[in-house]
């Protein structure tokens, strides 16, 4: 069996990149994302006794990272929903394409819980089961949120075409 520091180091090597990416998209600057990544793994070090019982390490790590992010924004008392920060600061090439810009706007206007769930699926490619673990909701709720999100996005995206025709 692998020693605890070894196991944590392996988790860090495998997942720190995607966790950093997830955090960086939701933080105003890279330094904050780095700090939150550090806090996430510090939490992992504190919970080493739980490591043998973790069945979905990726989902477990994302759950901790998400918790750290929420705590950070609570402390900052930032009224902005977390996901808005990176959608609004997206670079110019994305905004040049009308459809991408429209989709960006459509995603931004989704209810937070639908957007969070969709992000975990499309951006991080977590499975339904992993998302259920991260968000601590039943898998049926994850499926229904994802379907609702896609339905709403499709509705928003097809509206202009319908009005044009």
């Amino acid at each position: 069996m692998q020693s605890e520091p070894g196991a944590i180091e392996q988790l860090y090597r495998q997942h720190s990149g995607e966790l950093y990416s997830y955090l960086a998209r939701r933080c105003p600057d890279n330094a904050t994302a780095g700090d939150l990544l550090q806090e996430t793994f510090l939490q992992v070090v504190r919970q080493t006794d739980q490591l043998p019982t973790v069945t979905m390490p990726r989902a477990w790590l994302f759950g901790i990272a998400r918790h750290m992010l929420a705590r950070h924004y609570r402390r900052q008392r930032d009224p902005l929903p977390v996901a808005q920060t990176w959608y609004e600061s997206a670079p110019e090439p994305v905004a040049k394409d009308d459809r991408l810009a429209a989709m960006r706007e459509a995603i931004r206007t989704l209810p937070a819980e639908l957007r969070d769930t969709l992000e975990l699926r499309l951006e991080q490619e977590l499975s339904y089961e992993e998302i259920a673990h991260v968000l601590d909701v039943p898998i049926g709720t994850v499926r229904s949120r994802l379907h609702n999100a896609v339905r709403q996005l499709r509705g928003t995206m097809t509206k202009p075409e319908e009005t044009n025709s």
């Binding site: 180091e9 890279n30 780095g34 995603i107 969709l118």
Partner: protein, 154 residues
């Protein structure tokens, strides 16, 4: 196929979460249902576009801290916590030690009453009789004997 079941299958397919067997069956079904195939394409496009938006921009990956530094940080925190507990413990003990001598001083200022009368009443009686009538020691021993007899009665 019922429209709501079809929609659910198409959604899961677009989201990349349909199991391979169901996907094969659904593809066969879509080949014979143009409206459903169109719906499938629209959903697929929506999800692809959303994915493109969500994955851009990809932030530059930085690895800010090595894991062994975190382990050391955690260990340092624990050592500091232990040190703090030790200091608090020593402080409390020192406070208690400083408090006790004060009580001892009080005890010295108010010594306990003599118990000679309690221990040897016959010797005390002899001693009282041998002392001069107005001597302080006789008066003191008489008072002690009286107090002692009162306690015995109670």
């Amino acid at each position: 196929m019922k429209p709501d079941i079809l929609e659910r299958l198409l959604m899961d397919r677009a989201l990349g979460s349909l199991n391979p067997d169901a996907e094969v069956l659904l593809t066969d079904y879509l080949a014979n249902d143009l409206a459903a195939a169109m719906q499938a394409r629209e959903l697929q496009e929506t999800v692809q576009l959303a994915t493109e938006v969500m994955r851009n921009p990809a932030p530059a990956i930085e690895t800010p801290t090595q894991i062994h530094q975190l382990v050391w940080r955690h260990r340092t925190e624990r050592v500091l916590a232990l040190a703090a507990s030790f200091v608090i413990g020593v402080g409390l003990t020192a406070l208690l030690i400083h408090a006790n001598p004060h009580q001892e001083n009080v005890a010295l200022v108010n010594p306990p009453p003599p118990t000679i009368a309690k221990i040897q009443p016959a010797l005390v009686k002899n001693k009282i009789e041998s002392l001069p009538f107005w001597s302080n020691q006789r008066i003191y021993l008489l008072a002690s004997a009286a107090a002692n007899s009162k306690e015995n009665v109670q």
